[in-house]
Amino acid sequence: MKKSHYWLLAMLSVLTLMTIATAAVAEEKSVSGHVEIGVSGMDTNDNPARVNEYVNTRSEEGFSFAPKLFLESQEGNSAFALEIDVMGPRDQRHSLDVDANRIFRLGIDYQVMEHWKDHETLDQMGATARDDVGGSQPSVTTDKIFSDLAALPTPVTAVGGGTLNYDAGEAYRQELANDYIVTRREIKSEADITLPSLPNITFHAGVRLETREGLEQAIGVTKCDNCHVSATGKDIDERTEEIGFGATGKFGPVTVDYDYLARTFSDGGATPVRFFEDAGNPTAFNLLYEAGDYAFARTPDSEKDSHSLKARVDLPQNTSVTASYVKSDVESSKSDTQDEYLLLQGDTLNTEYESFGGKVATKLGDNLRLSLRGSMYEIDVDGNQVYFPAREVTSAAAAWPGTATDDLHSAEAREVTELGIDAVYRLARATTLRLGYEYEEVDRDEEELGQTQTNTFQASVKSRLNRQFSGNISYKYQDIDEPLAGAHVGIAQGDSTAFQDPLGSGLWYYNTADFATPTATDFTKTWYWTDVYPNRQLASTNLADKVHEAKLSTTWSPSTGMAATLFARVRIEENDDVSYEQQTYVPGVSLYYAPNGKLNLTMAYTFNKQETENQMCVGWYHG
């Protein structure tokens, strides 16, 4: 399938070029354009990852051959345009557009680019609370910390009872020397055919192939104690293949459009492996990842099939009715992970998306346009169960008291209903008023995540006051009931075995001396799982429940050679339940000035300020 894409596209391109070229030669030259032979060069000092993040010309210093070609031709009802722009081996853009007598249209695009990815040093991982000396602190370590401890006059090779099975210093130096950079290549092709004998139907087909190759950073952490954080390079060898086809037909007042899309994603890069130490802290009961080398930071393969059907009926009195139906199925493969856990119903997770939508738009009188729309979509996740072999232990004293199998709970499964009404009223010759209201209800299958209802009100005025002034101003207000909640936070609120902060901060504490000494064999004494986590009660969310947003844009254009645009956006959102407030201000101006036919200037300035106030729940325990 992969090779056939290249051959198919190459063959189509060659055939098309030959046809056009032959026609052009036969009917005298009508091809114009330009060709450039060039050289590009790049030199960089210090860190290239930000200054050349989206790589310009090349990622390493040196020179590259940089040819360019632009060809265009038009002959009767046929035309083609070819553009080749190469600035470096991985900074290229190519495009081909062909229109053969308006019967066959073909568009091909090919792009190559490089992107420097983030590279954390992990230097900040050693921070911990000064007073927190209970329980062998400091216990957050990195490869560099282990390497430094081993270099002490009296070498230290274990922290909190945890040791590593590799040379931490060598691993640290090797990881620091990694270049995290990814090359993205994408080729897209779309073709339309409208046969003269069937002029009201257009058939279309498309192919897209995208690859990402390179190295990214993957960071993993071991549970205490110690809590070892380390990074390693992850090979990226991703491939996305898409093929689609469909047809658009116009039958009198009815227009129907059908599209089918099939997409596959695969990652052929090796999954990184890291060493997870034996968790020395007895409260880390019955972990899945400890005392061994385990794969982590996997990217699963997936497939998607999608059908889309849309229909529109144009009725008299400027009225139209549209309807749409979309169904897609996504399958994510977990076959590579069937070691630490097993899916009991097949090794794939399946999601189905189905949506229905409709809209009626009409014009009432000369000045009012009205539209009503509604849609409903459902995301359904196939049930499954997860089995953890590590929970089955032979010793009865160390046996996990619960089952070794958990039901799979999906946070994605939901039903969403949307209803909206929009009205556009012409206040004057070149001035319109737009009013809109939308209601959205999200009903999630997972009860813990609840239901969210959003009411949105919008108003805007757009006007061309005279030849020189035009502008628009808009305002939006949203009222959201129960935005998507995060995990419960806080420690020990309301637990009878806890006590309140005597300094009146509102926080609650456990005194660990009040608990039985944790053991690795008695789950009732692993008080993290039995007391700390279940007693978290404070609501958390990073989403607002009230939003106000205003936008303004105005353009002054006193002549054809001058224009100034002033724009501004202000957004204020809040959620009193979690003491969250955020204000965003983005004013800006852009100018265009061409005093004569020889000189033109463009200038722009944008200022962006955002202030956020919120509460934080910080667990001041062990790093």
């Binding site: 091809v31 114009s32 354009g33 330009h34 060709v35 450039e36 032979i37 060039g38 050289v39 590009s40 060069g41 790049m42 030199d43 960089t44 000092n45 210090d46 860190n47 290239p48 990852a49 930000r50 200054v51 050349n52 310009n56 010309t57 940089a66 360019k68 600035m87 983030d118 590279h119 954390e120 040093t121 992990l122 230097d123 900040q124 050693g126 921070a127 911990t128 609370a129 000064r130 007073d131 927190d132 000396v133 209970g134 062998s136 602190q137 400091p138 401890l149 902060d501 005597p502 300094l503 901060s505 926080l507 504490y509 036919g597 020889k598 000189l599 033109n600 200037l601 463009t602 001041w620």
Partner: protein, 131 residues
């Protein structure tokens, strides 16, 4: 900026400047001592809970330093980019074009990615033919 200097020579130039700052202010009321006998103004060595060896207090942050934790999220950078270029037409069909860009990233406050300072120069020289 685009400027047709003469009939054969067209020049262009551009300048971009970015200045970004981020600050986090920690509104934190003094936390309660984990051990009732501790007064947080008491040096750890005097509390009776000082440990030895790798767990000695000298190995990690004091509470005054922890109260500066919000400075970790102070971010600041500046970025300059200057481009100059031009196209010279020898004849209506033959031309040469060149451009040079200087790009500088100055990381005024480091974040978790280390020292991100960097400069880059990009150049292009080409000979073209129009038909």
């Amino acid at each position: 900026m685009d400027y047709q200097a003469t009939e054969q020579l067209k020049l262009n130039a551009g300048f971009t400047y970015n200045n970004a700052k981020d600050r986090w202010d920690w509104k934190f009321s003094e936390r309660a001592p984990l051990y009732p006998q501790n007064d947080l103004s008491t040096p750890l060595a005097d509390t009776g809970i000082e440990a030895a060896g790798q767990y000695a207090s000298t190995n990690y942050d004091t509470w005054e330093m922890n109260n500066q934790i919000d400075s970790y999220s102070d971010l600041a950078y500046e970025q300059f980019q200057v481009t100059v270029g031009g196209t010279y037409n020898f004849t209506p069909s033959c031309y040469t074009t060149a451009s040079l860009t200087y790009d500088k990233f100055i990381s005024d406050e480091m974040y978790v990615y280390g020292d991100e300072d960097g400069t880059a120069y990009y150049g292009y020289l080409g000979f073209g033919y129009r038909f």
